[in-house]
Symmetry: none
Subunit: 544 residues, 2 copies
Amino acid sequence: MINVMHSMDRPLNQLEKSLDPQLWHACAGGMAQIPPLNSQVYYFPQGHAEHSNNSNINFNKLPQISPIIPCKVSSIKYLADSETDEVYAKIRLVPLRPNECDSDDENGFSGLDKTGDKEKSNSFAKTLTQSDANNGGGFSVPRYCAETIFPRLDYSADPPVQTILVRDVHGEVWKFRHIYRGTPRRHLLTTGWSNFVNSKKLVAGDSIVFLRAENGDLCIGLRRAKLGIGPSGYFSGLSGGSGKNGDCFESVVEAASLAVSGQAFEAVYYPRASAPEFVVRASAVRAAMRVRWCSGIRFKMAFETEDSSRISWFMGTISSVQVDDPIRWPNSPWRILEVLWDEPDLLQNVKRVNPWLVELVSNIPTIHLSPFAPPRKRQRQQYSDFPVGPQLPMPTLISNNPLSPSSPLCCFPSDNTVFSGVQGARHAELVLSSSNLRFNNLPTGLLRPFDFKPLGYAGPLPQIGISNLFESCSNLKKVNNESKAPVFVLFGQPILTEKQISESCSDGSGSAVIQNCFPEGSSDEEFPRCGDRCKGLENELRTV
Amino acid sequence: MINVMHSMDRPLNQLEKSLDPQLWHACAGGMAQIPPLNSQVYYFPQGHAEHSNNSNINFNKLPQISPIIPCKVSSIKYLADSETDEVYAKIRLVPLRPNECDSDDENGFSGLDKTGDKEKSNSFAKTLTQSDANNGGGFSVPRYCAETIFPRLDYSADPPVQTILVRDVHGEVWKFRHIYRGTPRRHLLTTGWSNFVNSKKLVAGDSIVFLRAENGDLCIGLRRAKLGIGPSGYFSGLSGGSGKNGDCFESVVEAASLAVSGQAFEAVYYPRASAPEFVVRASAVRAAMRVRWCSGIRFKMAFETEDSSRISWFMGTISSVQVDDPIRWPNSPWRILEVLWDEPDLLQNVKRVNPWLVELVSNIPTIHLSPFAPPRKRQRQQYSDFPVGPQLPMPTLISNNPLSPSSPLCCFPSDNTVFSGVQGARHAELVLSSSNLRFNNLPTGLLRPFDFKPLGYAGPLPQIGISNLFESCSNLKKVNNESKAPVFVLFGQPILTEKQISESCSDGSGSAVIQNCFPEGSSDEEFPRCGDRCKGLENELRTV
DNA sequence: CTGTAGGCAATTAGCCGACAA
DNA sequence: TTGTCGGCTAATTGCCTACAG
């Protein structure tokens, strides 16, 4: 058996050769979102640094880096690492001037997604078992894959067997013997498989992706197993750069510098780096910033399973809204949401998330838990008596909120709006129980969340602790008696009521102030400055 | 079992293939109102922008966009997203010239309603439970659905079982095993269901819709539970626009530009976007504008429950009538009504509504008032205490009121006209009790209100705050002693009495002034300018 | 020794009635 | 009436050993 490939023989320029976007997306997994060409995005240097695994980048030498820089996508290259076969993208961004920002277009996105969908249905990923990865072993092909992705097998033969040719991300062609045999019958790859495993240095836990391209060709890609969850020490840089991910320190600083000075720059994005994307569609960010985030809000967030076989939604509650790193990145919305998960064990390392990655959750109506409307019988009565009984469906809160043209972009004053939803939510929620999350034939995989920020990272908690806060918010227990009134924070800056100001209720830390949505007796009128601040911030986001 | 579907094989052009309007409406839910072909409508660019999730659209570059543009519906395409199956419509509109506007026709609308009615009886929606959505599980078919929608089952068999074929929005056919078994007996979908759930990526909380088409075919559609504020997860941004909803920025601006210049244009409308429709039957708007809206008026408004299983009416009181965004959209009636709900908790995010979406409440003696519905009791009391109880019977506003061509289109001064009737009506209000509104036997769903304007949006409140104002109106508490008299506002401009003018009671903000319909001793004669303003506006509405 | 074969059994998918809400 | 649970059966596939080249 000949070793068909070997990257060393390839000319260097092939490194820049784009591969089939379909195959790229199949390898990247369902969560990867590459904004379409010419679309407007926000570039987050903070996220870029995080992605490049270089959290200690010193941006101080650069003057005034805005944490969120509007850009236009001027080119996208879908690439694969010449050694590891891992896919990555080079995205060229042109910073937008303030006056260009409004010419926002979203074109092409659906097109991209359509592509995404296509792959989805045309590709199949399997995590290699010991047997699959064993030297000398074959590959057990899951029935679904064999029947939907592979060329049709002639089952009348005995045994049914065929040779399949697959193309990898570099265009190299591999040959496998596909046979259907054994009792019970099963699909196997035999001859050729061992060679592939050795050549690609695959180990149990890595995944391979089969894709049937539009032209009918069978393609194969792979995803290296990530030892993922946990601080980044694990990653022993397979993927060439300075860390495991895309750009090295210089690249990030350089990109940020160019961005700041309005010049085009290029960013390398590794979709499987388990870090949130740092180039995000502008409309997604804007939409997220329009939401009145507030502690207590229930949400769900999509994660990809460790083996990328599927995507699951996890539910949680926002515990506070505060700027992640107010010193280095003041006013940055990056990871501004601090969250508590319903299943904390599974997502221990995900402490902070980006608002544009979460979705608000609707509360599944439960009538039985209504405080004064127990069972259904009664309820009917109530309905006929009173059309809007309290046990009534809660309004969907934030989710589909229409955007009032001048709505504050990121104003987080507290009000009862959210609270009501929370109350309703505690009655019963749409919870993706783990029974929902059973994966194809794999043991419940570890999740590959976006976020691996070390636990200790979040700033010190204010005196009004999260737990207290949340208790009072959700009304689970008695309203806490804390003498200090809750403080509002807007992008790291506390927003105080007059009363609070007069009381000089300061805990000395701007960033540590937690927003609370239930200040007693608070109302919109009590936060006159909030509107102004919001306006400013909105402008910033729109025009910077 | 063969996997019947697989979207990959569909040609791209099918994206534009209209689907059965019946199925479309069943998926769209009870609130969706598509104006009939060739009918006269008003197009609200403001609402279009809101719907498209793009509140920051800068319309300033366009010269003079009228907030309300009369059009004729020249074509309607009922479509479904190729990926998510979510339904949307493409409505082609031809702006009408002033002289064409009066040739208003209402034809076809009853026809549409008939259609709507038909679906209603032929379709059934169920929100998926955990068990329904669980991998490996089946689907519990509510008896009503099985008996009225599904093909007749032969109950003489043991167990009664059949295979049903259902067509989805793309025309793909799915096969399910329908069985009636268990103790107690119940209808279930077993074989094939899991495949469907996985293929459509359904999760608990999503709903599916079964429809028996006129030709007897069984159809299946779905409604994503997604409250998508933004493109987070899986299906992010699927619907091809900015954010989840229809048109992108350019589309909105382009549509508005075309509209202004009198050219035909197309708008994409997502019925499940929880934003008010921005293409509204002209007659509805006209009728609504003929009403003398005034703070204190009692009304009801329909909302769809979160799971779309039913529609509920919520009652409220108009707290003020003022232009939503007088800077960007001067004189726009869009969301001109600021309201207070009887159940503020449930509709906290609905602060402003469109006049054509509310109905005035007529009062009819109701005996079955809930003995334990506190809010309501209080209301009745308070209203009966106050002779000019605003809860008075208004003529049914929107729907069928005759159009008197010369009636004031949008004059909102208060006068006794409204109040005189109120007195008689104080006994009780006509409440459409939910027993009227119960559909199918579904659990009460969450509401999906139209409006989620952030609370902070309304400009700074004047010294006469809403609460005070309303208190004085409704006499909930002592009449407030505020020395300043209430101020009237018409389309963002304060209208002052002579006394007020002489007192120079100005708070510096035109748009923030709140209208009050209970100025002591006020009468029509005191607002001589109002009529003139209205006339001008009326003309604008009729001829622009 | 390498690699392919069948067989067994662990695991998962998924159908069922019971039961309770 | 119907959502969920545990039990059961069927289907899938990981891994073992045999044995052929």
